[in-house]
Symmetry: C2
Subunit: 241 residues, 2 copies
DNA sequence: CGTCGTAATATTGTCAACAATTAATGTTGA
DNA sequence: TCAACATTAATTGTTGACAATATTACGACG
C-alpha cells in the first residue's frame, strides 16, 4: 500500500486534470484511491501536497477533506491534519452490521423491480471481475470487487441507497486492508455471480441469503486481533517486490 | 413557517451559545430548525446573517453549509448562496423508498437484539408525543414525531444506521412540509406505539409490517401535484396565529 | 404604467498573510 | 548514549481584503 498523497492522482490519471477541479473531483479521486488500496489507513493527507497534486488552492482541498471526513473516509485532527481513516474493531463491526442490514434488503428490492438492462450491466461487471482475476490484476480486482456492491445498489434505482452503499463499501475496503487475512483482500470468486443468478431468476429469498452469506464470509476473514503492519507493505512498495 | 435565518437560534436557544461554536453545532441547529419546520424549504441562508447569529466567521459558516449540502438538507448554488433544500417529487420518492427499505429492516433488527432499557426510552418518547399532542404543541409534536424514528434507529446500536435515518427523516420533514396535506404534518397518532408494541413482544414480522404501513401512510398523505404555498404559512407565523 | 438599461449594493468565491499549533531537529548535561 | 530542553521548520486555522457575480434600485423612455 502506497502512502503517498501524490498517488491519489499520478497513478489514477492516465487522463489530464479537468479544467475545473472542484471538491467533488477531489473527493472522488481520494475515494477511489482508498477503495483500490492505493491510500492506506492512517496515511497523512498533507494539504500542501494535495494542493500541488490537484493544482488547486487550500480552500478547495480543505473543503474536500471536510466532506471526506463526514463520510468516514478521512479523519480530521485539529491542528494535526487529515489522515485516511483507520477504523478500529468497533467501527468495523458497525460498518458490516449496517451492510448486513442494507444490502440483502437491496438485493430483494432489485428482484422486486427487475430491469434487464441493469442485469446486463451487472453481468458484464462480473465478467470484468473474472478477467481481472484471471490476469492477476490485483488492484483492478479490488476495485471491481467493491464496485459490484455499488452497482447492485445502483440497480435499485435509488441514488440515496447507492450513496450509502458506496460509503460503506469504501470503508469496508479500509477495514479489509487493515484486518483482512491474506486470502481475503477482495470478495471471493463466484459469489457475486451466485447473488446475481438468484436475482436474475427472481428468487428474492435466495438473493438475500446469498448476500448475507457473502457479507459474512468477508467479515469472517477479518482478524481484529492482528491488524496488518502497514510498514511492511511500504517496504514491499519501495522496491522489494 | 419562518424564513428568518435568526430563527435558527433565537427560538431554539433558551440556552446561550457555547464558548466554542464549531461546524457540528451549526449543522445541528440547522438540522433541528428544518426538522421542526422553523426553516422552510427554499429559505435563503445568508452567510452574513448566520455569522452574526452564531457569532462565528465565514469560514465556519461555509463549512457547515457544505456539510448540510452533502446531507441533502441545503442546496448550495454557485454565486447565489445557500438555500434550505426544496425537494421535488422525484427526490421525495427516493427518500421514502430508502426509508421503506431501511426502517422495517431496522425494526426487525431491534427485535433480534432487544434491550429493555432501550425499549423504556422509546416508551417514554411515545409518552412525550402523547403529551405534546394532548397539549396541541405542534412544533414539539413535529419534532418528536420524527425523533421516534431516529431513536428507533439508535436502538439498533449502530451509529451509521442512526445517522442515515436521521438524514432521511429530516429530509422527509422538508417533504412533508412541502407536499403534506393539512392533516398529515406529523406521524399519525398511535402508530409509533403499535410498532413499539410489536417490538416489545418480540414479533419481528409484525414490527416490520407496522413500520411499512406507517411509512406508507405518511407517504400516502403527500400530494405532489399541489405543493403548499409557503407564503401562506409564513403569514401565519409572522403574526396571524 | 410597464419595460429596459445602468448604476449601486449585496453577496459569494477566493486568496495571501498572519497567528497558532505541532513536528522535527539541534544542543546540552548527566 | 540518552533524556530533556531549546530552537527551527512545517503545517494547520483563521481572517480581512479584494475579485467576481448576482440582486436590487432607480431613472429614462415609450
Amino acid at each position: 500500500m502506497s502512502t503517498s498523497a501524490e498517488s491519489v492522482v499520478t497513478e489514477n490519471t492516465q487522463t489530464a486534470l479537468p479544467d475545473r477541479v472542484d471538491e467533488a473531483f477531489i473527493v472522488e479521486r481520494i475515494f477511489s484511491a482508498v477503495m483500490e488500496h492505493r491510500l492506506a489507513p492512517a496515511t497523512k493527507l498533507n494539504e500542501h501536497k494535495l494542493c500541488e497534486t490537484f493544482g488547486v488552492g487550500r480552500m478547495r482541498v480543505r473543503r474536500a477533506l471536510l466532506l471526506l471526513s463526514s463520510q468516514g473516509i478521512v479523519d480530521l485532527e485539529t491542528n494535526r491534519g487529515a489522515f485516511v481513516a483507520s477504523p478500529g474493531p468497533e467501527e468495523a463491526n458497525e460498518v458490516f452490521e449496517a451492510r448486513a442490514l442494507l444490502e440483502p434488503a437491496i438485493a430483494r428490492q432489485v428482484v422486486a423491480d427487475i430491469m434487464p438492462e441493469r442485469m446486463e450491466l451487472l453481468r458484464q461487471h462480473i465478467s470484468l471481475e473474472s478477467e481481472a482475476r484471471g490476469n492477476n490484476r490485483v488492484t483492478d480486482l479490488i476495485r471491481l470487487s467493491g464496485e459490484f456492491h455499488v452497482k447492485l445498489a445502483q440497480a435499485s434505482g435509488n441514488s440515496i441507497l447507492r450513496r450509502v452503499v458506496r460509503e460503506l463499501v469504501t470503508r469496508s475496503s479500509l477495514i479489509v486492508g487493515l484486518f483482512g487475512t491474506s486470502s481475503h483482500t477482495m470478495c471471493p470468486a463466484n459469489e457475486h455471480s451466485y447473488i446475481l443468478s438468484a436475482i436474475e431468476r427472481g428468487d428474492a429469498d435466495s438473493a438475500e441469503v446469498q448476500m448475507i452469506e457473502h457479507l459474512n464470509r468477508i467479515r469472517d476473514g477479518l482478524n481484529f486481533s492482528a491488524p496488518k503492519p502497514q510498514e511492511k507493505d511500504l517496504a514491499e512498495i519501495l522496491g522489494l517486490q
